[in-house]
Structures are given as C-alpha cells and as structure tokens.
C-alpha cells in the first residue's frame, strides 16, 4: 500500500467518524447520512482498488482511471456549487420576506399639519 493510499484512508476514517458523531447529534438527516456514507465508501473502494476506475474508464471511453476520477469530482463539485447557489437565493428571498413584513407592519405616515404619528397596523 502506498503512502497516499494510507493518507486518504486515514482521512476517510476521520470523515466517517465526524459523520457518525454528527448523526448522533442529529445534525444531519438519515438521508444525508446515507448519501455521505455511500460517498465515502466509494472513495475507500477506489483508493483500495484503483484499477476499478481504469476498468470503468475504459468502458466509458475515458483514457485513464485517474482522469475519470477527476472528471467525476469536477461534476460533483459543480453540482454542489449549483445547489448552494439555489439554496442561497432561497435564503435571500426568505430574508426579503421577513424584512418586507416588518416594513409593512411598521409603515408610518405623518400628517403634514400636526406632528402626531399615525402608525397603521395591518
């Protein structure tokens, strides 16, 4: 086993440990837990048996197994980035809704002649 394999495997162990503790604290949903578990198992398998990627690569018509791994990683990263963008936009809109609701509730109009406040409640 090469040094890089050992480093990656140690990292996977760390990641799985973190995943487990987060699940224990109920910070993530069961669905997310399973998704991440499968992902790290996949990484472990690829690390232990790198030839698998070469086999897959030849089926898919990609030159080398490592190339396939890089393509795959890029795709996943782009997908995650897209999801984050959408999530962010959703949060932004929710924030706007809160700000809007407060603005409308606290609408003020002062009559020009006397100085009394005329706050309206909707």
């Amino acid at each position: 086993m090469s040094t890089i394999q050992i480093i990656i495997l140690l990292f996977i162990l760390f990641a799985l440990f973190r995943l487990y503790t987060r699940r224990q604290k109920k910070e993530i949903l069961t669905r997310e837990f399973i998704e991440w578990l499968l992902f790290w198992i996949l990484v472990a398998v690829v690390t232990l048996v790198p030839d698998i990627t070469s086999y897959l690569a030849s089926i898919l018509g990609v030159g080398r197994g490592t190339d396939l791994a890089v393509y795959g990683a890029l795709l996943i990263i782009f997908y995650l980035m897209f999801k984050i963008f959408v999530r962010l936009e959703k949060n932004e809109r929710q924030l706007t809704q809160v700000v809007r609701e407060l603005a409308i509730r606290n609408a003020v109009k002062k009559p020009l002649d006397d100085k009394k406040d005329e706050s309206i409640k909707l």
């Binding site: 963008f85 809109r93 603005a103 409308i104 606290n106 109009k109």
Partner: protein, 224 residues
C-alpha cells in the same frame, strides 16, 4: 386611488424634491427606504407620505415589491413605480395613467427611446439596446426600452404578477410576467435625465449588471 411607489436608497439629496414634485399626481406616495444609512426616511416623513423601512438593504426589486404589496393593501387602483433619484419627470405620471384610465392597457411602460434620454452616455444606450433584444428573445415582448423603472399598473394586473426578484432582474421579471399573464401593455414616451448625481448613484449599473441579471433570472428558475 393612485399610489406612487418610490424605492429609495441613500437619496437624502433628492428625496424631498422628488416627493414634492410628485404630490400633485398621486393620491398616496409610498416611499420604501431600502435600509438607507442617511436621512432618507426622516426627510421623506416630513413630506406627509407613507414611509416603509427595510431594516437591511434588500435592493431595488425587493423595495419595489414591498411598496407594491403595501399599495395593494391600501386599496390602490393604479400603482406607479417611480425612481427617487430625480431621473424621471413627475408630470409624466399623467402620460402613464392615461391608457390605464381609458382601459387601453393593463400595464404602461415608460420608454426613454420613444421619449428623451437627456445626457445618456453612449455605452448605456448600447447596453439598453442589448436588453431590448434580450427581452424580445426571452419574453417575446418587443419594446423600445426594456429596462426603465417608470411604469404603471392596474390593480388587476398586479394581482396576476409575482414579483420575486430582489435585484435589478425584477424589471425583466415584470416583462416576463406580463407576457405570461397575457396582459395588455403599452409603451409611452418619457424623459430620463442623466445627471451627474444619477450616474454616480447608479455607477454599478454597468456591463457587470447584465451578468448579474441573467444569473438571477436563471437561478430564480430553480428556487421553489
């Protein structure tokens, strides 16, 4: 009842002048102070208009949508959008109202290219022409001026339109919604003044905005 919605972000220099000159043409004026850090809202309050405050800056589209929702809740029959930086001519509100009052349109859009664009830099013109083509392509609406903040709606029209874009993309969204709801629209000539003040205020309104608008419209499609 005719309500004019004025979104304002750090407009203390112009707000009083704009509100005063708008008054003869509106039954109610609704200023949406979009989290200004200057005296915009306190100055607006002295003019006897409604003032709504966004606690934090949510940008143009969000301010317009807040003011519009409030105008509808007040029972406005016609809602006009009007910029606070003094680029538009208040007297031209009448031009936008006419087709609505005569029931010739549900939405009236101001066009600086049918009217006058005083002091408009050439690169702005170029960008605006691009926006016209973009709108024609994506919304199927052929306009002479696709990104003008001077517009008027009937109550009924606004009830069919969703305003969800917080930023400048709102303008594109409105056109898209007009097309989607098959509303009757009309362009009328208006005057837009490009003063040093307005150009300075909107200096971010540049080529970068185009990318931002397209990105917002695209991402918006995926937000539930």
């Amino acid at each position: 009842m005719i309500a004019v919605v004025v979104p304002a972000y750090n407009e203390e220099k112009m707000i009083k002048v704009v509100l005063r000159s708008l008054k003869p043409y509106a039954d109610e004026i609704i200023v949406v102070d979009d989290g200004s850090t200057d005296a915009t809202s306190s100055l607006a309050l002295t003019e006897g208009v409604y003032v709504l405050r966004h606690l934090v800056n949510r940008d143009y589209g969000a301010a317009i949508a807040t003011g519009t929702a409030f105008a509808l809740s007040l029972g406005a029959d016609i809602i006009v959008h009007f910029d606070a930086d003094g680029q538009f001519e208040p007297a031209e509100v009448k031009l936008l109202l006419e087709p609505l009052l005569q029931d010739k349109a549900d939405v009236v859009l101001g066009s600086r290219f049918l009217g006058k664009a005083i002091g408009m830099p050439w690169h702005r013109k170029l960008i605006q022409k691009g926006a016209v083509l973009f709108t024609w392509f994506f919304s199927g609406i052929k306009l002479t001026d696709a990104h003008n903040g001077f517009r008027a709606f009937t109550r009924k029209a606004l009830q069919q339109i969703t305003l969800s874009q917080d930023h400048k993309a709102l303008t594109s969204e409105i056109l898209h919604e007009i097309s989607r709801s098959s509303l009757r629209y009309l362009e009328v000539p208006v005057t837009v003044h490009y003063t040093n003040y307005s150009l300075h205020k909107a200096k971010a309104n540049s080529v970068w905005d185009i990318g931002r608008i397209i990105r917002d419209l695209l991402i918006g499609k995926f937000v539930k």
